[in-house]
Subunit: 298 residues, 2 copies
């Protein structure tokens, strides 16, 4: 069973602290640390771990213990919204694990974090206890600074733990979701309005594809604009369909696609699916990918 | 170090014999048997193995021993040309292994087969000892029935072993090559001449791409025609370029592509490359594929 876990930690500026957190996680038996990405202006780091449920539970408990000792949100100022020292902990099914396995793991880890560290825990996305807690943005609105007031309302009683914030570490949001693909399409124009209109056309919130979040941004240093997206379920809203739609909408404004980019990791299946679409592959199975065969035969 | 080995055995009709050969290979420690495909009309089976050099050497010696005991080419009639009981043994670099590693392995295994079974061995493709032995078709021309006469000429002295055929097992051709992709494009027409002309346009032998072998064939039962190809180096002649060229050449005759198909296994990199081409991916690295990261972190 292989599950991915991508804890977001509110520390992106002290390299030695980030390295110590990464080392602590790497030392947990059965855990593979695939990536660490830090952003100083966001003051945030994203760790990518893989392992089975038991190993990831140990890793998250270790990480939160170290992060609470090292991070004080009362002193933390960054561009990225955050609620906690360890801000978000999503579990993602990769291989031999179902979404139900990840939901169960999120609940188990959430309960353990609350018990061990007296930390309020919210469950989100597939692990959410009620519909209004599915979206991370709704839980995080008001941020650390507004958390005490927010928690005073019974509507925001945590799923586990005390009904007040941890003094220095705030709260943690734990959940289960599909792999998320950070995908951007750069347009050969400096017209920001074009990027914004295309983003509005393709994102779920304004009538577009079910599993797309999108915004138009300007890449001022390059003199071009970007449709910046999160694809939250590449099986149901595939990357190639999103790309083709962006391309077609851009043509409406006389604009062509310059390039696209994937930020961070992408599941092989998303790219194999795109190859299959464009090559018009029939009777093709993921079992025909040599590397998949190799892993199955292990 | 991971090498693929794809022995072609001259037995495609007796399921129990094929299963016994597969079982013998599967029992070799360190070897993974990824696939067994048999074709009764060809009277031939293709095994796909993976492992390190030492494990594959043991597996090939085991397979040849069992095949010599089970197969008599004097009684063998099939559609596919063949020279030996085990006809061809290519080694293919997959991960952490170079082509030079595979050439060295081919020579070592070839020498061992000649010594142990008194079997003539020819080296081909990247392992060939001279240019006129690079192509398997040239070595195999005349087949088992013509082998004794062919070997009487010094030009066809084997690279290892006796200068006469093994009485029942003929000879074996051992070599090293890039992964081969069996790739077909089906056209929405029954005009065989169109498929033949496109095949001629794209194959190396008549002026096309360097690493493409192609022929036009009729799929009579479906009423369509096919450009049937082997892509012998997908890094240098990528699948998407071949597909786009076939599509463009077909348009010249007013014909559209119905679908394409990959027969058997394909390296992930070939499909990721196609996704990158069509999605216009910039700054993308194979390290961003989650499964690659996982294997590296093991």
């Amino acid at each position: 069973m292989l599950i991915e876990c991508i804890p977001n930690v509110s520390e992106g500026r002290r390299p030695e602290t980030i390295a110590a957190l990464a080392d602590a996680v790497r030392a947990v038996p059965g855990v593979r640390l695939l990536d660490v990405s830090s952003d100083a202006s966001h003051h945030r780091s994203v760790l990518t771990l893989a392992g089975d449920a038991a190993a990831l539970e140990r890793a998250v408990l270790t990480l939160v213990e170290r992060a609470i000792a090292a991070i004080d949100l009362r002193q933390h100022r960054g561009e990225h919204p955050r609620l906690g020292a360890v801000d978000v902990v999503p579990f993602v099914p990769i291989e031999g694990a179902t979404m139900a396995d990840c939901v169960a793991l999120a609940r188990k880890v959430g309960a353990a974090l609350a018990r061990r560290f007296d930390l309020p825990v919210y469950l989100y996305e597939e692990a959410a206890s009620r519909p209004e807690r599915r979206n991370l943005e709704d839980i995080r609105r008001g941020e650390f600074e507004g958390l005490a007031a927010k928690m005073a309302s019974s509507a925001w009683a945590p799923d586990f733990g005390p009904s007040h914030p941890h003094p220095s570490a705030g709260a943690v949001v734990v959940g289960a979701r599909m792999p998320l693909i950070a995908y951007n399409v750069n347009l050969a124009t400096d017209r920001l309005d074009v990027a914004k209109r295309i983003a509005a056309a393709i994102r779920h919130s304004s009538g577009g594809y079910r599993f797309v979040k999108a915004m138009g941004v300007s890449l001022a240093d390059r003199g071009v604009v970007q449709v910046s997206m999160n694809l939250t379920n590449h099986e149901k809203t595939p990357i190639f369909r999103v790309f083709e739609t962006v391309k077609r909408e851009a043509a409406r404004y006389g604009v062509v696609v310059l390039e696209s980019e994937i930020v961070g990791l992408v599941p092989s299946a998303a790219l194999v699916g795109a190859a299959g679409f464009y090559l018009q592959l029939e009777r093709f199975s993921a079992d025909q990918v040599l590397e998949n065969k190799l892993r199955q035969a292990q």
